[in-house]
């Protein structure tokens, strides 16, 4: 029998449900395509993800599907793979400046942040007082999402004031404490914009405790738990970037090339992030998991 192909599937941090889902989808698609999968968890460290790629190259994997923890820090490792003749498809975050990447499938986090803020603006045509909970300082998605939110809100400063802006490190417990402090210091805001769903759910608990049930809270990632909260009207919305679709597409492109050098139709597949609200829940990728 002919040896099965092996691909490396690498995600930045399996401590977060978002990436667990991504890796699960990679796994499922790899099985569907009949290839072996080597899994890699960056454990939130660029050096760990780099080391994983290096180990995979020694093992002569046939292709690499990777969501890089950091687009700059992972560039040298990806470059090395390209040089070794291994096709690389990046998901979610795009590595600039490396020649010869087979394809990129992604949804821009900056665009996602913009979508999130725009949805909030649409909900408050007459302006709003806003809390903004940012992600882990220095982390790529935190920077991009923050940028997106400010891209939209900064020009509208007069109507939409961010009266409280703090990091809660993407963590639910911290978001709860931070929001409690924000509510005590500033009273009730109109909206809370959060850089991920975990923080949105934490902020939601803080508001619930003060009976501020009409604060519109926005999350990011469209995790099943957030979708349930959106359905129940507890969250106003969450940003869907279609990580599963991204992952499966990436695997298909990588495997096709590895099998018989089929060049992808497009080198750049960009899915537009959308905000999931109560009315378009069916568009959410993981709505099936909330049943």
């Amino acid at each position: 029998a002919e040896d099965k192909l092996t691909i490396l599937g690498s995600v930045p941090n399996l401590g977060f449900p978002f990436f667990v889902h991504m890796l699960n989808e990679i796994k499922a698609e790899a099985a569907a395509q009949g290839v072996n999968l080597t899994e890699s968890d960056g454990q939130n460290s660029a050096t760990k993800q780099t080391a994983d790629i290096e180990a995979a190259l020694v093992q002569k994997v046939n292709a690499i599907v990777i969501s890089p923890l950091d687009v700059n820090a992972l560039a040298p490792a990806i470059e090395e793979a390209v040089k070794a003749g291994v096709p690389v498809v990046t998901i979610d975050r795009r590595v600039d400046g490396v020649e010869g990447i087979l394809a990129h499938v992604g949804a821009d986090n900056v665009k996602g942040g913009e979508a999130e803020a725009s949805a909030m603006v649409a909900a408050f045509p007459n302006g709003a007082k806003i809390f903004h909970l940012q992600g882990q300082p220095g982390a790529g998605p935190a920077i991009d999402r923050n940028k997106g939110v400010h891209n939209v809100l900064d020009p509208l400063k007069d109507k939409y004031q961010i009266i409280f802006e703090q990091t809660a490190n993407f963590a639910r417990a911290e978001a709860l404490s931070v929001t409690e402090a924000g509510l005590a210091a500033n009273g009730k805001p109109d909206a809370i914009v959060c850089a991920n769903d975990d923080m949105a759910l934490g902020a939601m608990e803080a508001c619930a405790a003060r009976n501020f049930t009409d604060v519109k809270i926005y999350g990011f990632d469209a995790l099943p738990e957030a979708l349930v909260a959106v359905r129940d009207g507890k969250l106003a919305g969450t940003v869907e970037q279609f990580p599963g679709e991204q992952s499966r597409t990436a695997v298909r492109i990588a495997v096709a090339y590895a099998k018989d050098k089929t060049e992808p139709k497009e080198k750049l597949v960009l899915l537009t992030p959308i905000v999931i609200g109560k009315d378009n829940l069916d568009k959410a990728e993981r709505i099936g998991e909330t049943k």
């Binding site: 399996l14 409280f164 639910r172 005590a184």
Partner: protein
């Protein structure tokens, strides 16, 4: 030594004692004054109760950590253990890992809050006990054993939860995190009661005094006929128990148990204990100090957030103030002894 000398000495010691325990407390008071001046609504009861609620989670673990550090040990695994116990509590509360996402439970399938609480503290205490045995039997230093524990418990947590959270507990369980008794948050009451109990145990029981003795000089304690190994195991059981209790309260408060809970808590918890005056070399320290240490950290974080200080600046200020608080304490002690 003359009588006059002796009296003086005694007097000196009493004043010293008072001020020694007041060092971090004075610093805490100063912080509160500063924050109130900056923004008077800092003293709003809502905010003060927020702070008590916030410090109760790490505070509970810090109580247990006080026992451990008093024996010159350390436990780096508490953050992971918290996540692990929280996940166990969630599985018990929900009656399995299925249906992990519904935010409102009918409560029919689960085993109820009491079983969840029991599971959390028993698993926590057992995990602590296993680590304690590894320390005493295999003679591996506490730092190494609990560093191993840190990664093992995180791995176990991720395995049982497959990375995701388990959310949605019934109201009776949630009361432990979000309820109030009068105006006082339930977690704060749990913390206060636990602190008083720990204070009594450490100060007024033979067991407590044995903990100090073991930390003061383990070899001398053994020669004096104390069962040093048993006492060592017991303190890890205690900190594990408190990690379990804290996990239960945290899950109840967040209405969710997350695999990523408690990351980095070990350092916060150890800070609280050390700022409170407990020596990392064992034998010296008190529960009162730990409570003040936990409050100091809590007030600092809350106060900076309250004033919407940028997170970068927050890091810098918190780090400097931790060092200053301890430096102030040392300086006070050295002054008083004169």
């Amino acid at each position: 030594m003359s009588v006059a000398g002796e009296q003086n000495q005694r007097g000196g010691i009493n004043v010293a004692r008072l001020l020694m325990s007041f060092g971090p407390l004075l610093f805490l008071a100063a912080l509160i004054v500063v924050f109130t001046v900056l923004k008077p609504s800092f003293m709003d009861p809502i905010n003060l109760f927020n702070i008590t609620r916030q410090i109760s989670i790490t505070g509970l673990i810090a109580l247990g950590m006080t026992f451990v550090i008093l024996t010159a040990g350390i436990d780096l695994s508490v953050g992971s253990l918290l996540a692990f116990c929280g996940m166990v509590a969630a599985v018990v509360a929900k009656g399995g890992t299925a249906n992990t996402l519904s935010l409102s439970t009918s409560g029919t399938q689960g085993y109820g809050w009491f079983a969840a609480l029991l599971a959390a503290v028993v698993v926590g205490a057992a995990a602590g006990g296993v680590q304690g045995l590894a320390i005493t039997r295999l003679k591996v230093p506490p730092f190494v054993v609990t560093l191993g524990g840190l990664t093992v418990f995180r791995g176990l947590t991720l395995t049982i939860s497959n990375g995701g959270p388990i959310s949605g507990f019934d109201a009776s369980m949630r009361w432990f995190g979000t309820g109030l008794i009068g105006p006082v948050p339930v977690p704060a009451i749990i913390f206060a009661v636990a602190a008083i109990l720990c204070h009594i145990v450490l100060r007024y029981t033979r067991y407590g005094r044995a903990v100090y003795a073991v930390g003061g000089n383990a070899e001398a304690a053994r020669l004096s006929g104390l069962r040093v190994d048993r006492i060592l195991v017991s303190v890890y059981v205690i900190v594990g128990f408190f990690a379990g209790l804290a996990a239960f309260v945290l899950s109840a408060r967040l209405n969710s148990s997350e695999a990523v809970a408690g990351i980095g808590y070990e350092l916060t918890v150890i800070s609280a204990v050390v700022i409170g005056g407990t020596s990392l070399f064992g034998g010296i320290g008190s529960v009162g100090g730990t409570v003040v240490g936990a409050a100091l950290i809590g007030v600092l974080q809350n106060g900076l957030q309250f004033n919407n200080v940028s997170s970068y600046t927050q890091s810098i200020v918190i780090g400097l103030i931790l060092i200053l608080a301890v430096a102030f304490d040392r300086w006070l002690k050295s002054r008083v002894r004169r």
